[in-house]
């Protein structure tokens, strides 16, 4: 056994806990999880059945933690997990799993399958079976601060443009502000309008905020790759900055996995509860809406549907804010059948959008057909969402299928129609 494989198996042994044991023991091979997975529904290939994606982890569990499994291993009746097998599983654990968690919602025996995928990735990362795209994004985040290799001077430059466009000052490294505002590289590079929106809304609400020049990036590729050590390094930057600047709250950007990383995984990575609150930008906006601060000067008339990003809604718990907010700004919002926690993934979460092999991109395009269908069935030309990564993936899908659908970011849309 190679040294890296040994480390990988060791990591798998380490992550197996009572829930995982209980889940594996409960599975009756009914296959219902496949019906909840867009990679299965859109390809019809049984290998994409969520529980099957965990087969190597299941065998490690059986061989190491059950009496019968240990007996079988002793007499040489069990099949050991090999490098070649993990290599083959890379496609199943990364390319074709966005950690959207829809399978965990339908399993009749109650298995939280995405919980297991997250843990399985720990062993995949340690044993070196991670797609190059996610690996290099993680490396860039650790070395430069963000997955796109963006450094502070570039961010400062974007902020300069924001200040010119809005006429507002964007505070940086200001101690004692109420909020520390985090961004994601994708917003900085592709959607700087988000930052303008935030500046306008904070001004309007009279809330103090700041950015931190050493902790502006909220995304955490360490979590996507499944490496807790790297994830901890990345999240610690934010924790240190929040504590140094003595902020009360940290504002997560729209970006889905950034929210997951800081709100839910963060305290567990650093090993202690936070002394500050982590708020998703939509939670803040909905609070302002309820207070009557978020008044609109007019409403968007186009009929539209909402794409609920998995990591924010189904897996992040921001369930109630999105709908009232979209209704605040859109006159013809059409609720779709599979909405809120039942929504279908865009196909690019969990690091999948960073994998640029031909096969992965072709698979993503296929998986996107489910979003295409939702849009066509609703008969709309506009979709609104609130996650930078979903936006990139969805735009790619629109291009691939040559769709004329417009995609809007919720926060920007609200800012655009905000009463002056």
């Amino acid at each position: 056994m190679s040294a890296t494989l040994e480390k990988g198996i060791h990591a798998l042994k380490e992550v197996i806990d009572a829930p995982i044991a209980s889940y594996f023991e409960s599975c009756v091979h009914c296959g219902l999880c496949a019906e909840a997975c867009l990679f299965y529904t859109e390809t019809g290939d049984p290998k994409y059945t969520p529980i099957h994606k965990l087969e190597p982890l299941r065998r490690v569990y059986e061989q190491e933690y059950t009496l019968l499994g240990r007996l079988k291993k002793m007499v040489g009746l069990s099949k050991p997990v090999t490098d070649a097998e993990l290599d083959q599983w890379q496609e199943l654990v990364y390319d074709s799993c966005t950690m959207c968690g829809r399978c965990s919602l339908v399993c009749p025996v109650g298995n939280d399958i995405v919980y297991m995928v997250r843990k399985f990735r720990e062993g995949m990362a340690v044993s070196g079976h991670v797609p190059d795209g996610i690996r290099s994004a993680t490396k860039r985040t650790v070395e430069t601060g963000g997955p796109m290799g963006l450094k502070w001077p570039a961010v400062a430059n974007v902020l300069k443009h924001v200040q010119e466009n809005t006429g507002l000052t964007v505070p940086v490294d200001k101690e004692g502000a109420e909020y520390l505002v985090l961004l994601s590289s994708m917003e900085i590079v592709n959607y700087p309008e988000y930052i303008e929106a935030i500046a306008k809304i904070f001004k309007k609400a009279g809330i103090s905020y700041t950015l931190a020049s050493d902790a502006y990036e909220a995304t955490n590729a360490g979590i996507q790759i499944g490496n807790s050590d790297l994830a901890k390094v990345i999240v610690s930057r934010i924790v240190d900055a929040a504590e140094r600047l003595k902020v009360k709250k940290v504002l997560s950007p729209e970006c889905g996995h950034a929210y997951m990383a800081i709100r839910w995984e963060g305290p567990n990575l650093v090993g202690r509860p936070f002394g500050f609150e982590v708020v998703h930008v939509l939670e803040l906006l909905d609070e302002l809406r309820q207070k009557g601060v978020l008044k609109m000067k007019d409403k968007l008339k186009d009929p539209l549907i909402l794409h609920d990003p998995c990591q924010i809604v189904r897996r992040g718990g921001v369930l109630q804010a999105p709908e009232p907010l979209i209704q605040q700004v859109a006159e013809n919002y059409i609720p779709i059948a599979d909405k809120q926690k039942l929504n279908w993934c865009c196909g690019g979460g969990g690091g999948a959008s960073a994998i640029h092999t031909e096969e992965a991109e072709a698979l993503r395009a296929k998986a996107f057909r489910i979003k295409k269908r939702q849009i066509e069935e609703a008969g709309v030309n506009t979709m609104v969402t609130f996650c930078a990564n979903c936006r990139i993936t969805i735009e790619e899908g629109f291009d691939h299928y040559e769709m004329n659908t417009k995609l809007l970011g919720l926060t920007e849309l609200l800012a655009e129609h905000l009463e002056d």
């Binding site: 599975c27 099957h52 019968l68 109650g110």
Partner: protein, 219 residues
């Protein structure tokens, strides 16, 4: 060993051995699984109505929105044979007598004709589920020896019990002995196979509900 001796063995030592392995097996497996423990979640919880372990234990008994349409055979067939098995095991007169002999508790039984009909319906549902496992690509792909074996181990006691009461194929004594023996095989296999889901599914649903409930998501 003649028929009567065989029957006597299945009702005496055979039953003791099977019940013993079943009880110790269940206890051992539960300890093996649940003493693994889990880490405390350090993130500040978000509270939401209906989001807890207990909620999910109950909620997951019903198909989530849209799922019944996607896999009607799994749900309808699954309900019928699970409920059927429960009716036969816990409301059939001879079974209640057995339980009374073992633990001293008893309750009223359903008429034997009704139990017989339930057995037929249960077997039909199980055959449909088997056909579905063979026909449906996902189920066939996931299936291992254990899936076929546990199906048979569950089916045979129902079949032999029904055949014994209907006096089919073999003399009653022989069929009854076979029925008891097959039920004993089921008891022995249960803790060490996927049939153990009958115990762990409560834990699994609870963990899932609790982990997601911590984030304020009713699952």
């Amino acid at each position: 060993m003649n028929d009567l001796q065989f029957l006597t063995w299945t009702r005496g030592p055979g039953l003791d051995i099977a019940v013993g392995i079943f009880l110790l097996g269940v206890l051992w497996r539960l300890i093996e699984i649940y003493t693994l423990g889990r880490k405390k979640d350090l993130a500040a919880p978000r509270h939401a109505a209906g989001a807890s372990g207990l909620h999910t234990v109950f909620r997951r008994s019903l198909p989530p929105p849209g799922m019944l349409k996607r896999s009607p055979v799994s749900y309808i067939g699954g309900y019928i044979f699970h409920i059927g098995l429960a009716i036969i095991v816990f409301l059939g007169a001879p079974h209640i007598l057995l339980i009374e002999n073992l633990v001293g508790l008893s309750w009223p039984a359903l008429p034997s004709q009704f139990i017989g009909l339930t057995a037929v319906v249960t077997m039909a549902a199980m055959v449909v589920m088997l056909a579905d496992r063979i026909n449906k690509p996902v189920k066939r792909f996931l299936s291992t020896f254990e899936d076929w074996f546990t199906w048979a181990v569950t089916f045979v006691p129902v079949l032999t019990g029904w055949m014994a009461t209907q006096h089919l194929l073999l003399p009653y004594t022989q069929m009854l002995a076979l029925h008891i023996l097959s039920a004993e095989v089921l008891l022995v296999v249960l803790p060490f196979s996927k049939l153990f889901h009958g115990f762990t599914l409560f834990g699994s649903r609870w963990y899932n509900g609790r982990v997601n409930g911590h984030k304020g998501v009713p699952v």
